[in-house]
Symmetry: none
Subunit: 235 residues, 4 copies
DNA sequence: GATGAATGAGAATTCATTCAT
DNA sequence: GATGAATGAATTCTCATTCAT
């Protein structure tokens, strides 16, 4: 089970990816011509996407070999190119799904005041972000680490993160916290913290139990960005 | 000029690298046997190290080609292998220098209270960290992004970051801030924030002027981790 | 036609090599993982092995370039590494086959008395040895000239030659020939003679017709090692 | 001490090599311009030649790196090319000396009858051959293993071996032994045996004490090629 | 006479992508 | 729809030879 109790986000084989495909319509004979996939095809596609996520997680996008993915998916090279035009195309498919998850997440961030209710809302959001990262981490890493060559894919990431950043900026403004240096830098810092903390968790660098670390993260962010008062140990 | 006014850290061609090399003494015919380099050799070595930092910064460690480095250093392929066994060996050389810079930095972090003096000390440290990152960023990234294959090199990074983390943990403890979820997660979060924020700055993702963003970072960290009181806009 | 009339030994693509390969099972992404080869794959593998034997014969193992082999097999560089990890791995494959041929040969050496029957048996063995050498010469040379880096491969050669040497030693003992300096040196001498004579024949250094030189070799060995009486020209 | 008590053959820095040099007279500025070497120069030259022999012995001519030689001689690459035009030129220098030793040896082979006196003479020759091989083995190997590219150098080897072979053929003829298959093949076999046995001894493949193995070799050759009667154990 | 440094052509190896069955 | 096999361009690495001091 995840920290928040929400069900883990799924790889949307159906809906979201089809859109990535529609670009390709018309280019005859090229691979990745998803058209109407039957049951078997959909299963293979999912196996490939899942395998890619696994391999990317282990090795990172750049270092991942098509061969690794194919082997992990128990299929062949030839099959891979039946579903994707190339490695980047595969990343794109995952990116589309990931971006839509993140955007949805952004839309769902409620007001975050400096009080307990605000903290609860913040905690909810952070928990969902961690969950999403647990699944799509490799894609997000690829974005953050500038491993994406394709403009289109990169754009997707920027857009998704901007969506979240903008919404958080709005919530900060509502909380009326004074931030020297301006909002932009603050948002940058917050997103940086979010992403790397999540990576730290996903990679095992940051240990401690699920809810424990979520508490820590919540506390820090609440104080640092949303004006929550600090509790000091009574010396 | 740098944010802090300190002079930028230098690549320590001399002392620190020689030690990394001494392992190789005796191994026959292997390159990278620094031996006693004359003036010309030292110059070439430095050209290569500097070029590597440039190329790594532009392309990332993994994507960087030996050819890029060699071209950037205006020397030949053969020469490269006269100084390093391979790309990893070069990273090692840089890592040794970087680690010593970071360790030195750690030792120099004074008490960070929640008051103005604490803020000043924190700002000084963060400024120096940003400067170091500006120079050795690629190496630090390689560490943080798990791109390092070599155990030895990886160990160096862990050690250096632990040194900083431990010192900051000490300073947090002194500030008596109560952190639910414990110190470990908090330190993890702080280091994550530091590293990624620095990367954001170095890569241009986080814009705003030098001192402006340093202020923002200082404020956030001071509040989030060291109990600085929050100023709220008088609505 | 060969000296003995036996059909030339074949490169055993199937059975023998597969075993050498099984070590690699599980090691990720490594080439030379023969898996289950289909007809086409088996053909290519054999083409490569045959080509290697040709090229090694012409240039010697060390001087042979992968490129030569690939060109001689009318295939591509990439393909080579689909079947072998490197040149050494290819040698290993050949060595396995060669060793089994030689071992089989050893088991088949009958008693060699000083009489005509003994001579016939000796001649039969020598003829088969020459045939095997004609085919696997390059591999045997690599063994004898200490060109093999890999322990495993070297071991194979030692074992095979020991098998032959031991059997011949047994036959000498049966012939009750007195050899000052002991058996070991004698066997060494005999194997040395066998190998180099075969090389001389294969390389054209030692000319004369097939059966003629086989006669010479037989005579010398029969006299030198198995106590055959010497015929002297009636001056 | 050597098996025969003769003093070990020396690398004739002075006399023999100068002749190899005279060819180069006239080619201005080229390396290997020995001219008149002073004491220091002669010492360096000898160091290089000795080192070469050592390295060739360990690795074989082909696999030997100029770097190995230079390091073993405790000198520099630059210096190497002050004395030799290239690696082959160095081999040539050694080959000249070796060839003259062998030729001298050939001239000195007395009659080899099937009796005890013949055996003594044969033993003396074989001992000297083994000694020469102990020193010049690598050069002889290079000849026998077809590692020599240069025609001129190769010619030297053929000539030297022909000289020995011819003389031995003469001695065989004198001994009136009947050899089916003709003299050529017999001589080939004898030379093959000599060379490989020597290599086996030098490389440690054939163990047993110095004089012991010399006895064995002598016995075998005496019987196999010179008509010595065979002693059989009284069963 | 000697040496450290540099060079670049050649060889090995990897891997995304295409082909044929 | 699937797969084993093939490809070759891109990359790393080696080493004999030359250069500059």
């Amino acid at each position: 089970m995840t920290a928040t109790g929400d069900r883990a986000p799924e790889v949307g084989v159906g809906a979201s990816y089809k859109s990535a495909t529609e670009r390709d319509v018309g280019s005859v004979g090229l691979p990745a011509q998803q058209r109407e996939l039957r049951a078997q095809g959909r299963r293979t596609l999912r196996r490939l996407l899942d395998a890619a996520l696994r391999v990317f997680a282990r090795r990172g996008y750049h270092a991942a070999r098509v061969d690794d993915i194919v082997r992990s998916a128990r299929t062949s090279h030839g099959t891979f190119y039946l579903y994707f035009a190339n490695k980047e195309d595969l990343l794109r498919a995952l990116a589309v799904d990931c971006a839509s998850q993140l955007t949805e997440l952004a839309d769902d961030i409620g007001p975050i005041g400096s009080d307990a209710a605000g903290r609860a809302e913040l905690r909810r959001f952070l928990g969902r972000f961690l969950d999403t990262y647990r699944h799509y981490g490799p894609v997000i890493r690829a974005w953050m680490e500038d491993q994406v060559g394709d403009r289109h894919v990169d754009r997707l990431g920027v857009k998704a993160f901007t969506a979240i950043g903008d919404r958080l900026a709005l919530r900060m403004r509502e909380a009326s916290v004074r931030l020297p240096g301006g909002e932009a830098a603050a948002v940058g810092a917050l997103m940086a913290l979010l992403e790397r903390f999540s990576y730290g968790v996903a990679s095992g660098r940051i240990s401690a139990g699920d809810s424990t670390r979520l508490d820590t993260l919540t506390t820090i962010v609440h104080r640092g960005f949303f004006g929550a008062p600090v509790e000091v140990d009574p010396a």
